[in-house]
């Protein structure tokens, strides 16, 4: 019995998850992301301007300039990451699980087995409503660390995904 081992025996032909199979998000979602960056820029630039106008003592010029440079750097990187990272975003609904992938620098894939979903919801923000987009929110039990949300789907596609998932959930109950 000296050489007894019991390592993991993987069943053969286990279905593999392949990032190429994922469905891309709707291009219009990029508009929402771009608007978010613009808002971020406006808030930080506005904050700086308000501070400069309202404060009695002006800080030295080099500090102001470095803050301005920092804001521009921040906006430029987030814009770059958003635009280049967009094609990396995608979702995949399989027979028994649903997955979402994202991330340019750090690629991340999250999968939730359908028999662990508690409920599914479709939500829509103001901007998304104008563009005809929806987000599918998938909730699991316990905490929110394992919840999944798929943004940037056309309304009817989101409804289809929700209907499919809801049907599957009731099968498992």
């Amino acid at each position: 019995m000296e050489n007894f081992t019991n390592s993991v025996i993987l069943p053969v032909n286990l279905p593999e998850i392949d990032s190429r199979d994922f469905n891309p998000l709707n291009r219009k979602y990029l508009i929402i992301l771009a608007i978010r960056i613009v808002v971020l820029f406006l808030i930080s630039a506005g904050g700086l301007a308000a501070f400069l106008i309202l404060s009695d003592e002006k800080p030295p010029l080099w500090i102001i300039l470095s803050v301005v440079a920092f804001i521009f750097l921040l906006i430029a990187t987030s814009a770059l990451l958003t635009f280049l990272g967009f094609p990396k975003k995608g979702y995949l609904v399989r027979e028994k699980d649903v997955s979402f992938q994202r991330g340019l620098i750090t690629h991340r894939v999250t999968s939730v087995p359908l028999n662990r979903i508690q409920h599914v919801e479709v939500s829509q923000g103001v901007l998304a409503k104008i563009l005809g987009l929806s987000t599918v929110n998938i909730y699991t039990a316990g905490g929110n660390s394992s919840d999944l949300s798929i943004p940037g789907l056309p309304v009817d596609e989101a409804k289809r995904v929700k209907a499919f998932l809801s049907g599957k959930i009731s099968d498992y109950e």
Binding site: T106, S111, N115, G142
Partner: protein, 499 residues
């Protein structure tokens, strides 16, 4: 003692009025403490005593009215197969729970409740998030009767999908005492806590307090603090080490105090398919943990704990409702011996197969990332501000080298073991922590690969369950992918009840 009629709508104990009052006051203060702080520290306002008195009177009056209305409109009873709770006077609310869906009935008793001889009862239901049933001031005999009744109804209920048949009437009869902590044990546990962390917390708290006081009495404080700085700069190493020891002693004292308060008269009892934990000095608690609800078992030991041979064990449960953190803290056993640990592991996971399996270690690039993160980044961030001081450069060398040692320890302790059904993860730096879970408890899996990891064909995994998550950083990309697919497959074919 006459038996209470549970089907009759009942109010809380009249002694509970005081409790409700205190609870509401506490809630109010918690919401408005920034405003109150302003009120207290703005000297202008304090000077006008009339205003303060009026505010206090209005506040007290509102609280008393609220307390009475709350009390009068709070009812609970059993109706048929359901437990009903009615609350609220402005916004009326009725909560009903089918009795067979009640998972556990826990009781707690804080110091005020002990004095008033009432207990608080929490009813945990299956899954339904946000539906929390809590009764804060229940007469003890009523609570006992209710608990008994709920269990009795549950065991009689025809729906036997509950894999926990022992939770019914049987559990009254046999309950095995697994672990009981004596005052001597508590002493050991208290001593073996992480004192450095406690000392830092106390130090930070003290500094904050000091700063607040300084803000408040600026002039006097300036005098004192300049004197203090003078004193410190003139004093020698002996004083510094004296201060360090002083803080450590205080930290040990606080750890001991905390341990005694939290774990006084700790008992871990086992029924057929659940555990019951009883403990507390000021806050007596009584928690039932059904086996199937345990999502993950964590156990930990440190350098001091190792000397005493004890482990700190935590049952991580799926918790419905909002106060997750609060409830999760409750279900732990601080001073287990190795034998207790083995026993509990066998109860929850069956025969221990994992221990014999090879360790799958985290790749040594993990060390590099940790070192950069803990050592170099803080150092580089501090350079522009402190580069003129030679003491900074001395300290930096110590810091960066210390971070290297720490990261090395973290790498050494990072490994996992897996078989077809369970996974065990080891981590830590000075102390060592293990996390073990059944694979079918997984709720979602995350695969993570940074640009840097991709070049070295490494990846990280994170496995989420209903109580939180465990992570496996920097392992071979191929293993990570295989494991990912296997975990999904395993969970998807599983039909066991996972929470």
């Amino acid at each position: 003692m006459n038996k209470p009629d549970l089907t009759k709508p009942t109010r809380q104990s009249t002694r509970g009025l005081l409790l409700i009052f205190l609870f509401s006051a506490q809630k109010f203060i918690r919401v408005f403490w920034p405003a109150l702080l302003v009120l207290v520290f703005q000297n202008k306002w304090i000077q006008n005593q009339m205003v303060v008195i009026i505010i206090l009177v209005v506040f007290l009056g509102l609280l008393i009215v609220h307390t009475i209305l709350y009390y009068l409109n709070f009812f609970f009873y059993i109706e048929g197969n359901e437990f009903v709770l009615k609350t609220g006077y402005l916004r009326k609310q009725t909560l009903t729970v089918p009795i067979e869906r009640i998972q556990s009935v826990n009781t707690k008793q804080n110091i005020i409740q002990q004095l008033l001889d009432v207990i608080s009862l929490e009813i945990d239901t299956a899954g339904t998030a946000g539906k929390e049933l809590k009764i804060h001031a229940l007469d003890k005999y009523y609570a006992d009767e209710l608990q008994k009744q709920l269990r009795a109804v549950k065991s009689k209920s025809p729906i036997e999908e509950d894999p926990d048949p022992g939770a019914g009437a049987v559990e009254e009869e046999k309950e095995e005492l697994l672990l009981q902590l004596t005052p001597a044990d508590l002493l050991k546990i208290g001593i073996s806590q992480n004192h450095i962390r406690a000392a830092l917390v106390i130090l930070a708290f003290g500094m904050q307090l000091f700063q607040q006081i300084q803000d408040l009495f600026e002039e006097q404080a300036n005098q004192y603090s300049s004197r203090l700085v003078e004193f410190l700069s003139q004093s020698n190493w002996a004083l510094v080490s004296f201060l360090a020891i002083f803080f450590l002693v205080i930290a040990i004292f606080f750890s001991l105090l905390r341990t005694v308060i939290k774990y006084f008269d700790f008992k871990l009892l086992k029924k057929e398919h659940s555990y019951r934990i009883e403990a507390g000095l000021l806050n007596k608690r009584n928690v039932i943990v059904p086996h199937y609800k345990v999502q993950q078992l964590n156990w930990e030991t440190g350098p001091l704990k190792r000397i005493f041979g004890i482990y700190h064990l935590v049952f991580k449960q799926a918790v419905s409702g909002q106060n997750r953190r609060q409830q999760q803290q409750l279900v732990d056993a601080p001073g287990c011996l190795a034998t207790h640990l083995e026993r509990l592991k066998t109860d929850l996971f069956g025969e221990d197969i994992l221990s014999g399996l090879p360790k799958i270690r985290t790749n040594s690039y993990y060390f590099r990332r940790l070192w950069i993160f803990y050592g170099w980044l803080p150092f580089i961030a501090a350079v522009p501000f402190l580069y003129e001081q030679w003491l900074f450069w001395m300290g930096s060398v110590v810091w960066v080298m210390g971070a290297a040692g720490y990261s090395y320890l973290m790498l050494k302790k990072r490994y996992f073991k897996v078989n077809n059904h369970q996974i065990r993860i080891s981590k830590g730096a000075v102390s060592q922590r293990w996390q073990q879970m059944e694979l079918f408890k997984i709720q979602s899996v995350e695969f993570r690969q940074s640009f840097f990891q991709k070049r070295k064909s490494l990846a990280s995994l994170r496995l989420m369950n209903a109580s939180g998550s465990v992570s496996i950083p920097f392992i071979d990309e191929k293993i990570a992918k295989q494991l990912y697919d296997y975990l999904l497959y395993h969970t998807e074919i599983s039909e066991e009840r996972w929470m």
